[in-house]
C-alpha cells in the first residue's frame, strides 16, 4: 500500500497545481476552470486490483461561465491559501472552523457547511492528498468500541497510552479518534474472533449490557449511522493487521444497505480513497429482508423515499450481485422494513441468545456457546 500522507512541500505543490490550471487558462484568454471526476454512482467502477469501487474516467469541468462555478473556483483559491497558512504555521482546524473562517472571505464565503465539506473533498480528489495533509479534521466524533482488544494511542502530551477496550473503559467504550493512522494509533493485541459493527446506539448498548462481547468472543463497534472515515479506517486496519472478520449488523432498510456498501465496497463520496477505507471481506449479518417474515418481526411500511432509494440501489454498481438484488427485490415486494430493535418483541435477550447466534452460524459458521 502506498504512502498515505504527503510531505508539506508536496501538498503545497499539489494545491498550487490547481491554481495553475486556472491561471494558465486565463493567460490563454479562456475562462478559468477546475477538472474533477464525476462524483455519482454513474462514475464508480470496481477496481480488480484493489478489490473496491473507485471513481471512473468521467470528468466534470467546473468553469467560470456560471456564477455558481465561479464562486467555487474562488473558494478553492481561498481554501488553498488558508491551507498553506496552516501547513506553514503547523496548525490544524476542523471543517466547521474553516466554514466559519470563510465568513471573512467576501465572495469566497461558503453558503453552508456542506459546501465547505464538499470543497475539501474536491481538493483531496484533484490533488491526490488527504484532508489530514491539509490539516483539516472532521468535528464528527468517531465510533465507540468495546471488547477485549488493546490499542496504543498517542495522547496530547505525545506519550503512548495503552488502552484495553474491555478493562480500561466505561460502558460507553473506547472513543475512536479522528486520526487512526499508525503515527497516532497502534493495534497491539486482541483475544477475539471477529468484530461486529452495529448501526444503532440502542442495539450497541443492548449487546454490551447482555455481555455479548464476552459470550461471543467479539469486539463491538458502534457505527453511529453512516460511519465516519476513521470508523471505516480502523475496521479496515483491524481486518488487515489482525485478520479479524468484520460482520455488520444493521436495521433492515435501504439506508442500512448503503451503510454496509460504504464499509465493504467504498462510499461514492470518498471513492478516491476507497482502498484505505473499505473492507471488501465484510459480511452483512442482518437484518435481512426475509428475516421480517422468518422471525415475524414488527415492521413499518416503506415510505416513498425508501422505495426511491431501493430503486436507485438497483442501478448502483455496488449492489449488482445476486445476493443484493434478491435482498432489494424482496424488500420492494414486501413493501416493509424493520428496525434492529424490533427483535425485542421476543424479549431483551432474544437478540443475543437466539438471533445473532443463528445468523453467525448461518453466515460465518461460528458456533457460540
Amino acid at each position: 500500500m502506498k504512502e498515505r500522507t504527503r510531505s508539506k512541500e508536496d501538498t503545497i505543490q499539489a494545491l498550487h497545481a490547481v491554481a495553475a490550471e486556472m491561471h494558465d487558462r486565463m493567460m490563454r484568454g479562456e475562462p478559468p476552470r477546475m477538472t474533477l471526476p464525476v462524483r455519482s454512482k454513474k462514475n464508480i467502477n470496481f477496481d480488480e486490483r484493489l478489490n473496491v469501487y473507485k471513481y471512473g474516467k468521467k470528468k466534470t469541468i467546473r468553469d467560470a461561465t456560471s456564477l455558481g462555478s465561479a464562486h467555487q473556483l474562488l473558494r478553492a483559491l481561498f481554501v488553498t491559501e488558508f491551507m498553506e497558512e496552516m501547513i506553514e504555521g503547523q496548525k490544524s482546524s476542523t471543517l466547521r472552523e474553516m466554514y466559519y473562517i470563510s465568513e471573512g472571505w467576501g465572495y469566497g464565503k461558503f453558503g453552508s457547511q456542506n459546501e465547505s465539506n464538499n470543497l475539501a473533498e474536491d481538493l483531496e480528489i484533484v490533488t491526490g492528498c488527504l484532508r489530514e495533509d491539509f490539516k483539516l479534521r472532521p468535528e464528527e466524533d468517531g465510533a465507540r468500541i468495546i471488547g477485549n482488544l488493546t490499542f496504543e494511542e498517542k495522547n496530547r502530551r505525545g506519550e503512548w497510552m495503552r488502552i484495553n477496550c474491555r478493562d480500561d473503559v466505561g460502558d460507553s467504550g473506547y472513543g475512536v479518534p479522528y486520526n487512526v493512522e499508525s503515527e497516532k494509533l497502534r493495534l497491539l493485541s486482541h483475544d477475539i474472533d471477529f468484530m461486529m459493527a452495529i448501526e444503532t446506539g440502542g442495539m450497541f448498548d443492548r449487546l454490551v449490557e447482555n455481555g455479548f462481547d464476552e459470550s461471543a468472543r467479539c469486539g463491538l463497534i458502534h457505527l453511529k449511522g453512516q460511519p465516519a472515515r476513521s470508523t471505516r479506517r480502523i475496521m479496515k486496519r483491524m481486518n488487515e493487521e489482525w485478520g479479524l472478520p468484520i460482520v455488520v449488523f444493521t436495521d433492515c432498510d435501504p439506508w442500512s444497505f448503503r451503510i454496509f456498501a460504504s464499509i465493504a465496497y467504498g462510499a461514492i463520496k470518498t471513492a478516491h480513497i476507497s482502498e484505505y477505507l473499505a473492507t471488501p471481506s465484510a459480511i452483512y449479518l442482518g437484518i435481512d429482508s426475509d428475516d421480517i417474515k422468518a422471525y415475524d418481526l414488527p415492521s413499518d411500511e416503506l415510505t416513498s423515499r425508501d422505495i426511491e432509494a431501493l430503486k436507485a440501489e438497483k442501478s448502483d454498481p455496488r449492489f449488482q450481485n445476486q445476493e443484493w438484488t434478491d435482498q432489494i427485490d424482496l424488500m420492494l415486494e414486501l413493501g416493509e422494513k424493520a428496525e434492529q430493535q424490533s427483535l425485542a418483541k421476543y424479549g431483551l435477550d432474544f437478540v443475543t441468545d437466539t438471533y445473532l447466534p443463528e445468523k453467525l452460524r448461518q453466515k460465518l459458521g461460528i458456533h457460540i456457546g
Partner: protein, 689 residues
C-alpha cells in the same frame, strides 16, 4: 332663477318604508350583530357605507371620521362624522327610525347599502343592548343651523321616538363636527361591543374600504378607558376624481322574479298591462310589449292589478321567449384599473401591481362588471396564503370567504403557471401576493342576508376568470423580467467581482503576472445585456430613467432601443440628451449606432408630472439583430396596430365635445390634496404588451 329642492330632501323623499322592525329584533344576527366583535364592525360599516353613498349622490369628496371609545361595562361609544349632504330635519326620524328599503329599491342601480336597512339596525342594537338612544347631528346646506336630536325606536309600531331636539348654531356645528363644511352628519351611539384588531376588524374594514374608494379620506381613532390610543388609521384620498355618477335604470324583464313582478303589477299606476310593460321596464318598446303579450296570450288592455297567478307566470315565461335588448350598462360605477392600482399601492407595499377592469356585461337582466387587482413582492410575506380582498359594489366582504363566488373564481385558477404556489393547482394560492376582486352590479346576489358572500353565477364566474387570467399573465411576464434581470445581475457579479479576484489570487499565489481579463469576459458573457432603472428624485419631483446596454460579444452591435414611459397630458420628457423620437403613444425610441465589443451605451431621460411611486419599472424593447438580455424584441405588428388606434382616437376626439362636469359645489367644500395622474397613463402600452 329656479329654486331647486335640496338634494338631501330629494333623496329622503324617495325612501319607502316597510315594517319589519319586530322581525329584525328577533333576527339581529342576519344583519351582522351576532357577536360583540362583529357588532362594532357592522355598525361602522353601515354608517360609512351610508356616508359614502350620500356623498357620491351629492358629488362630494367624502371626509369620514370614525371615533370609538371603550367605556365601562363592556360597551363602546361610536361616533361617525362625515361631510355628506346631511339629512333634512323632517327625514331624520325616517332614515334612522324605520327600516327602509332605501331610495334605490325600485330604481335599479349600483349602490353600497343595497337594501338600505342597515343604519336603523345600529340604532336598534344600541337600544337593545344598552337602553340608550342614538344622537344624530345633521347639517344641510340649505339651512343656517344644524339639527340635533336623540332617537329611540318603537319597534312595535315601526316608528322613531324623538327627544331633546334642538337647533345648533353654525359655530357650534363647526366645533362639534371638527369640519369646516356647510353640511354633514354626525352619529353618536353606545352599544355592547368589543373592539379587536386583526383580519376581521374595523381597521381592516376601513383599510379595504379606502382601497376601493380612493376618492375618500377616512380616519380612525380608537381610545381605551384610560384615554390611551388602542388603534388608529388614516387613509388619505389618492384621487379627487369621484366615481362616475350612476344612472338609475328600470328593471329589465330578464331579471324578473315572480314575487317582484307580482308586487310591481300590484303597485303600478299604469292602467293596462301593455303600458305597464312599456313604462316600468327597460328596453321594452311597444313592439316588444306586443310580442310579450302575444306569447303570454294576454289581452293588452288587461288591468295589471287584477292579474291571476297563472297569467303572471305566463308573462314571466314570455319574457324569456321574446328577444329583448340587453339593459344599458352605464348604471355601473367601476373603480377603474388605475385607481385600483393606486388604492392597492397605498394600502400594501409591493414590487408589482396589475389591475384589470373588464367591460360590463349582463347576467339575467342585471348589468355587472368585474375588476381584479394583484400585487406581488416587496414586503408581502411569502409564506402562507395570499390575502384576498373581496368587494361587492365597493363594499368590503370580510366574512364567509370560503363560500363566496369571488373566492371560488380565484380558487379555480391554476396559479402555478403564473408563479404562485398552489398545492394541486387548486385553492387559494400561496406566496407574496394579494388579490383584489370587485364585483359591481345593480343586483349583487348574496348567499344570505348577512351579505358577506356572493352566490354562484356562471356568467360572473367566467368574467372573473377572464380578468384573473389577465392579471396572472401580467404577473408571469413581470416574474420573467425579474428572472432575466437576476440572471444578468449574476453575470455582472461574475465578471466584475469574482473573476478579477480569481485572477489576482491565482497570480499572487503562484507569483505570476496577472492575466488580461477582457477576452475572457467576452467569452463568458457572449451576449448583449440591458439594465434599466427608474429613480424618483423627490426634490425636483422627477422620475429619472437610466437604460444601459452592454455589448459583451466579439463584434460591434447596433440597436434601436424603445422604452415604455407613462405618457399622458400631464407628463412630459424633460431631459433627454440622446434625443430619439416618438414611436407611439407611451413609447420613445433611440437609435444606438455602434456599440463596440466590451463597451456600454447609456440612455438617460427624465419624466416630469409624475408622483412618487407612479413609475417604478421601465419596460425596454429593442429592434435589431441579436438578443438583448433584459429586454424584449418589439412586436412590429402590435406597434402598427397601436398607431392605427391612436390615429382613430385623434379623429374621434375632434368631433366629440367634452361633457361638462356634473359636480357643482364640491370645490368649496373640500381642498384637493393631491394632483394625481390622469388615467390615460399606461393605456397605450398596457393594452398592447
Amino acid at each position: 332663477m329656479v329654486v331647486k329642492m335640496d338634494k338631501a330632501q330629494r333623496i329622503a323623499n324617495k325612501q319607502k318604508q316597510i315594517s319589519i322592525s319586530e322581525f329584525f329584533e328577533k333576527n339581529k344576527h342576519f344583519l351582522g350583530f351576532d357577536t360583540h366583535q362583529r357588532a362594532i364592525i357592522t355598525a361602522v360599516k353601515e354608517a360609512v357605507d351610508n356616508s359614502l353613498d350620500a356623498c357620491e349622490e351629492s358629488r362630494i369628496l367624502p371626509d369620514i371620521h370614525v371615533y370609538i371609545k371603550r367605556i365601562e361595562g363592556g360597551k363602546l361609544e361610536l361616533i361617525t362624522q362625515d361631510n355628506g349632504p346631511g339629512i333634512p330635519r323632517d327625514s331624520i326620524a325616517n332614515v334612522f327610525g324605520k327600516f327602509l328599503l332605501g331610495s334605490r329599491f325600485h330604481a335599479i342601480r349600483q349602490t353600497r347599502g343595497q337594501q338600505g336597512i342597515g343604519i336603523t339596525g345600529v340604532v336598534m342594537y344600541s337600544q337593545l343592548t344598552t337602553g340608550s338612544s342614538t344622537t344624530v347631528l345633521s347639517k344641510i346646506e340649505a339651512e343656517s343651523t344644524a339639527v340635533k336630536v336623540d332617537l329611540a325606536l318603537d319597534t312595535k309600531n315601526n316608528r322613531a321616538l324623538k327627544s331633546n331636539e334642538e337647533r345648533i348654531p353654525m359655530e357650534e356645528w363647526f366645533e362639534e363636527s371638527g369640519m369646516q363644511t356647510l353640511h354633514g352628519l354626525r352619529i353618536k351611539t353606545v352599544m355592547s361591543a368589543k373592539y379587536q384588531r386583526g383580519r376581521q376588524s374595523v381597521h381592516q374594514y376601513l383599510r379595504m374600504t379606502s382601497i376601493v374608494n380612493p376618492h375618500a379620506t377616512i380616519r380612525l381613532k380608537v381610545i381605551g378607558k384610560e384615554g390611551e390610543i388602542v388603534d388608529e388609521g388614516e387613509w388619505v384620498r389618492s384621487t379627487s376624481k369621484l366615481p362616475r355618477p350612476v344612472v338609475e335604470i328600470k328593471p329589465h324583464p330578464h331579471g324578473m322574479q315572480f314575487g317582484t313582478l307580482q308586487r310591481m303589477l300590484k303597485n303600478t299606476k299604469e292602467r293596462t298591462v301593455k303600458s305597464f310593460l312599456r313604462k316600468e321596464f327597460e328596453k321594452v318598446s311597444p313592439l316588444v310589449a306586443k310580442k310579450i303579450l302575444e306569447h303570454a296570450e294576454l289581452d293588452e288592455k288587461r288591468r295589471p292589478a287584477g292579474l291571476p297567478v297563472e297569467s303572471i307566470q305566463s308573462l314571466l315565461a314570455a319574457f324569456m321567449e321574446v328577444k329583448i335588448q340587453s339593459p344599458p350598462v352605464d348604471c355601473l360605477s367601476p373603480i377603474e384599473d388605475l385607481l385600483i392600482k393606486k388604492g392597492l399601492e397605498k394600502a400594501i407595499d409591493s414590487r408589482y401591481a396589475a389591475t384589470v377592469t373588464r367591460n360590463p356585461s349582463v347576467s339575467q337582466g342585471n348589468p355587472f362588471q368585474v375588476e381584479v387587482g394583484l400585487v406581488f413582492g416587496g414586503d408581502l410575506p411569502s409564506d402562507g396564503t395570499v390575502e384576498l380582498l373581496r368587494f361587492a359594489n365597493r363594499v368590503p366582504l370580510m366574512y364567509q370567504q370560503g363560500g363566496c363566488l369571488l373566492t371560488k373564481a380565484i380558487e379555480s385558477i391554476d396559479w402555478r403557471r403564473y408563479g404562485l404556489e398552489q398545492p394541486g393547482g387548486k385553492g387559494v394560492p400561496k406566496g407574496p401576493a394579494a388579490i383584489l376582486v370587485h364585483l359591481a352590479s345593480t343586483n349583487v346576489q348574496f348567499t344570505s342576508e348577512a351579505k358577506e358572500a356572493v352566490s354562484d353565477n356562471e356568467e360572473v364566474h367566467d368574467e372573473l376568470r377572464r380578468a384573473l387570467f389577465e392579471v396572472g399573465r401580467g404577473l408571469q411576464s413581470h416574474r420573467k423580467r425579474i428572472g432575466q434581470r437576476e440572471k444578468s445581475r449574476e453575470k455582472f457579479d461574475l465578471i466584475n467581482k469574482i473573476l478579477p479576484e480569481i485572477a489576482s489570487k491565482s497570480s499572487s499565489m503562484l507569483g505570476r503576472e496577472p492575466p488580461d481579463l477582457s477576452p475572457i469576459i467576452t467569452k463568458i458573457m457572449n451576449a448583449v445585456f440591458c439594465e434599466e432603472e427608474v429613480i424618483w428624485e423627490p426634490r425636483e419631483k422627477l422620475a429619472k430613467c437610466s437604460i444601459k446596454i452592454y455589448n459583451y460579444t466579439a463584434r460591434a452591435r447596433a440597436y434601436t432601443i424603445i422604452a415604455k414611459w407613462p405618457e399622458s397630458d400631464s407628463t412630459s420628457i424633460v431631459q433627454n440628451e440622446r434625443g430619439g423620437r416618438k414611436e407611439a403613444r407611451g413609447l420613445w425610441a433611440w437609435r444606438l449606432d455602434a456599440i463596440d465589443p466590451g463597451s456600454m451605451a447609456s440612455i438617460d431621460f427624465t419624466v416630469s408630472g409624475l408622483n412618487k411611486g407612479d413609475w417604478k419599472e421601465a419596460e425596454v424593447f429593442y429592434r435589431g439583430n441579436g438578443e438583448v438580455i433584459g429586454s424584449e424584441k418589439i412586436d412590429e405588428a402590435l406597434l402598427e396596430e397601436a398607431r392605427k388606434q391612436e390615429r382613430l382616437q385623434e379623429v374621434v376626439e375632434e368631433f366629440v365635445v367634452p361633457s361638462a362636469s356634473t359636480s357643482s359645489h364640491q370645490k368649496d367644500t373640500v381642498s384637493l390634496d393631491s394632483n394625481i395622474v390622469s388615467s390615460e397613463i399606461w393605456e397605450a402600452g398596457d393594452k398592447l404588451f
